[in-house]
Subunit: 338 residues, 2 copies
């Protein structure tokens, strides 16, 4: 088969590789219904994160189980499944505590930008639907695998509750999903920080009540003004730069909460500054597995449509163009048809 490999900065190739095989009795092989490109794939694509090239790309996936190892009991061939980008056994103490993304046996999914992929720890990682879902639901279910689950975790970590005033920093796909998550969790006011008309419109479609296009000091001043000088109850940081983190810290009220899900790059905190900020902070890779059954149900029952976050759809053979479009911010998120 052919699969997506990253050879170095800007060098994505869709090329022949061996088909994945069951390597462990806990593995499953799935035939992908669709896959996609993640904002985090752009870090190595841009040369901002070292890789051991060539690297098999892709960690967001849903599809039909093709084969399972001898120890797999909870999913079977022919079922439609969605899995988290974090592979977890879902039985260790960290998993049972709801932090499957810190599983004692955690792995990160790879090789999912391909027609077939191997999923380790299939029983702990995959969630099957009762029936094969309608095709138009596939993008939404695919989103649950990472981008929706990550936005959801941002809202959970930032303790968004009914009536909350929420600021979402970042208008990438995760930020947009964070808006949706805040809306679903009953936030009263959701302020999306975005300068791009298309993303602003999508944020509003997902439930943003206000848009702030200013950034930096001006953005902070605008949020303070909008919240009567108080700051937001919850801030969802969905970028991971020093600038976005400063924005988050300064838009949040004392005693408020920041959920940060953009993997920090070049972010340093001074302990004493953080102390006097007096804000709850929780970050990390999202424990998507905790939320997955609920998120899939929301999609299957058509209560939410996170699939709208994909604004570019390409055949997987054109994956390189998908990376370019996201790198150049021509696309928010690229869905790849396999």
């Amino acid at each position: 088969m052919r699969a997506t490999m990253l050879y170095g900065p800007g060098d994505v190739r869709y090329e022949s590789v061996p088909e994945p095989e069951i390597l462990q009795p806990t593995d499953a092989i799935i035939r992908l219904s669709a896959t996609c490109i993640c904002g985090s794939d752009l870090w190595p694509y841009r040369g901002l994160q070292e890789i051991s090239a060539p690297q098999a790309m892709g960690h967001e996936y849903c599809g039909i189980v093709e084969a399972v190892g001898s120890a797999v009991t909870r999913v079977k061939p022919g079922q439609f499944v969605v899995g988290s980008f974090c592979i977890s056994d879902n039985t260790c103490p960290h998993c049972r505590f709801g932090f499957q993304s810190s599983c004692e046996n955690r792995e990160f999914m790879t090789g999912a930008q391909a027609p077939l992929a191997r999923v380790p720890l299939a029983d702990g990682t995959l969630v099957a639907t009762d029936d094969i879902p309608d095709d138009d639901l596939v993008p939404g279910l695919l989103a649950a695998s990472d981008v929706l689950g990550t936005g959801w975790y941002a809202a959970d970590a930032a303790r968004v509750r009914p009536g909350s005033t929420v600021v979402v920093v970042g208008d990438g796909a995760v930020g947009l999903m964070a808006v949706l998550a805040a809306q679903q969790r009953g936030a009263e006011r959701i302020i999306a920080m975005s300068r791009h008309p298309k993303r602003q419109a999508l944020a509003q479609a997902f439930g943003a009540t206000d848009i702030v296009s200013e950034r930096g000091e001006k953005g902070i001043a605008r949020i303070r003004e909008m919240t009567g000088g108080v700051g937001a109850d919850s801030v969802l940081e969905c970028v991971g730069t020093a600038e976005s983190m400063a924005q988050a810290l300064n838009c949040c009220r004392p005693g408020g909460s920041i959920g940060y899900v953009g993997v920090p790059h070049g972010v340093e905190f001074d302990g004493q500054q953080l102390f006097f900020h007096q804000k709850n902070m929780l970050g990390g890779p999202a424990p998507v597995r905790r939320f997955l059954p609920d998120l899939m149900e929301l999609v299957l029952s058509r209560k939410i449509d996170p699939g709208k976050v994909f604004d570019l759809e390409l055949p997987i053979a054109d994956v390189a163009e998908g990376y370019r479009a996201m790198d150049e911010r021509r696309a928010i998120k690229t869905l790849l048809r396999v």
Copy 2:
């Protein structure tokens, strides 16, 4: 009158100063029943924090109201009161949110190591008892002003709940009060990290179920072993050094919570490391005013005896010896009789 002034590192003097006066209509003057020396007073005493010398010392206090300004309505002369080391109006949005230590009109109390002290924003800061308490309760009530309230906040920030496994980093007075707070909040297991027999004994008296005397990597390994490799649900960081913070981060389970109340000195966090640690973190000066009525009730009803944390009692004229004893770790905490 005479009062405690810090002239520079190691130079504490009890010397003549003008009596405090009502400067604002919201002020009160109180006659202290007792006062004490805080661990944080040692930072400038040791030259680790710059001061504008000479500086009036002391921020923990309780006593009888001597006079009030024309705008004060909630306390009156003759009442016994306890106040927080953080002066707050208790009406602004941050106060109403329970974070009086980030009050829009926050000041930090000074000049309380003296027979008389001025308390700004008296209505928001002071809590009066119904009657004049028995003399033996004064140390406990004095503790509520800062050290007990700060330990309590550590447990609150670290979300200690019934059944929790808790690690307390630091065996100073705040750490010991954090043990007591964890015990009162129903923690099942309370592991106090301490190498000093006298402090270990006091930690056990306050409710510690286990003592770990190892530090650094060995201390972390010991906690992991004791928690089945998982880590603690809650860690209460009561020191504020890079070493103690590393201890806290590595003793806490993923998804667990760290309340840090030792003012950080020389602590830096790498954003990406913090992200992958995946721990809830909340620090800051304690919003003692939020807890004060409950803490005072616990002391007045003799359900807790935080006054045991004072292991040295001196007449206030000997305040310099009180500082020396704490600096040399001969005393945990010095009570000053006025």
